[in-house]
């Protein structure tokens, strides 16, 4: 993060308060900010009353002046009460989120605990030991991914997501990804059609880990929500001074009412937990934050029963 961004975050935290920054609330939803505004309005009201009272001998002017001062206290007061309500709601959402997340964390933990109990209790025959060790390894990996996702969300909320700035060969990254994900697609009889038209040697500037995460997330989701015997189109091409990556599926599409919420961490986490799917559902939230921090853009277009296209664009790196 740049020095001026750090200073900006510190000022924001000072004016809005830690809670508001953490929950990403707007300034007018934060009690600290409203107290400051209320204070300023009250001081202006008192000073105005004093000066007007001095200049005009007519005592009738005091009535509207007092009314003005009262109003200047009353209105922010109402807004403050509302903002406390919003904070309470934010806390409620946060605890619901914690509930969902702890459930998701418990799944691999219980699998590991049960497998260890079986192995250590001598309940597993020699022929099955490898299978149990594989379950252990798989759930351990799953657990690490979950914890990393959560740490990333926390970093994003605090505005402290640290990104590297390297030249990334997206063409190579996409080719490797498609190769490695083919078995999963084949299992569902899905064809992955790859169309790469970026000139050789062109690269983007950004953090390899997070670009890979976003790139993989789009294809993972497309496979998850695609019907059997369908095609997923993966495109990579130059668009002005950027490279655009697109993944188009023929799934059910995203319902209209969910479109606004698709990059919202609470919405995704809640949906994933309800559907008994693995993961935290935080991938798109993290991808959006990371791609935007790299100077890129991310989005999707979707039609119900036709399918969804997720895309991101990243600025081209200058050639050496």
């Amino acid at each position: 993060m740049l020095e001026k961004d750090k200073i900006f975050t510190k000022i924001r935290r000072l004016i809005l308060g830690e809670g508001c920054v953490q929950y990403n609330l707007k300034a007018w939803e934060c009690p600290n900010f409203l107290f400051i505004v209320m204070g300023i309005i009250t001081v202006i009201g008192i000073v105005a009353t004093f000066f007007i009272g001095q200049r005009i001998s007519n005592p009738d002017i005091f009535v509207p002046a007092v009314f003005f001062v009262a109003l200047s206290i009353f209105v922010p007061g109402v807004v403050i009460v509302q903002s406390f309500e919003r904070m309470a709601n934010a806390n409620k959402i946060k605890s619901e989120f914690m509930g969902i997340v702890s459930h998701q964390l418990r799944s691999p933990l219980s699998a590991m605990k049960w497998v260890l109990n079986m192995l250590m209790g001598g309940h597993v025959g020699e022929d099955k030991k490898d299978e149990y060790l594989n379950i252990l390894e798989e759930n351990n990996e799953h657990m690490i991914t979950l914890v990393n996702d959560l740490l990333n969300v926390s970093r994003i909320d605090r505005g402290e997501l640290k990104l590297e700035e390297d030249k990334i060969d997206l063409k190579h990254m996409v080719e490797v990804l498609v190769e490695s994900i083919q078995p999963l697609a084949r299992e569902k009889k899905i064809e992955l059609k790859l169309d790469i038209s970026v000139p050789k040697g062109s690269s983007v500037l950004g953090d390899e880990v997070y670009i890979n995460m976003a790139t993989t997330n789009f294809v993972d989701n497309a496979i998850r929500y695609s019907p059997e015997n369908s095609t997923i189109n993966i495109r990579l091409y130059n668009k002005d001074s950027r490279i655009r990556y697109e993944v188009k599926d023929r799934g059910r599409g995203i319902p209209e009412e969910d479109k606004k919420l698709i990059f919202n961490k609470f919405f995704r986490a809640r949906n994933i937990a309800k559907k008994s799917e693995k993961g935290t559902g935080l991938g798109l939230f993290i991808a959006k934050a990371a791609i935007e921090q790299m100077g890129g853009e991310i989005g999707f277009k979707s039609k119900e029963n036709k399918g969804t296209t997720f895309w991101y664009e990243l600025p081209l790196a200058k050639k050496d």
């Binding site: 509930g99 459930h103 418990r106 219980s110 699998a111 109990n117 309940h123 149990y132 759930n139």
Partner: protein
């Protein structure tokens, strides 16, 4: 004759481990990997006990519980809820719907669960 247990759980690793443990304890185990299959097997197999997860694909555990307890043929089958949901609301809801016991997966090993089931059938 050995007692029959229906285990409704979508996570294959948990299915495998607890099924192995229950079989080693002398029980016959029927496995269902989603809610719809769970209801189907409960009605068809008439198990002596159902071990039920709550977060399941197709139909969740609460819907299954409600369905089982509303159905003359299945309403007397004891149901142990075995889940990772630990909210007071979920526990109360499951018990009100007729679950016999509520167990949290991370707090119990397959050995513990087998012991509890043995105890249930002894009494």
């Amino acid at each position: 004759m050995s007692k029959k247990i229906l285990f409704i759980e979508d996570e294959p690793a948990l299915q495998e481990t607890l099924t192995t443990m229950l079989k080693s304890g002398g029980y016959e185990v029927v496995s269902a990997l989603d809610g719809e299959k769970g209801i189907e097997f409960a009605e068809k197999e008439k198990p002596d006990l159902i071990v039920l997860d709550l977060v399941l694909p197709k139909k969740d555990g609460f819907v299954i519980l409600e369905h089982l307890k509303d159905n003359e043929e299945t309403k007397n089958i004891d149901v142990i809820v075995l889940t990772n949901l630990e909210g007071a609301y979920d526990i109360e809801r499951a018990l009100n719907l007729g679950a016999m016991t509520y167990l949290v997966k991370t707090n119990h090993t397959p050995e513990d669960i087998l012991k509890k089931i043995n105890k249930k059938f002894e009494t």
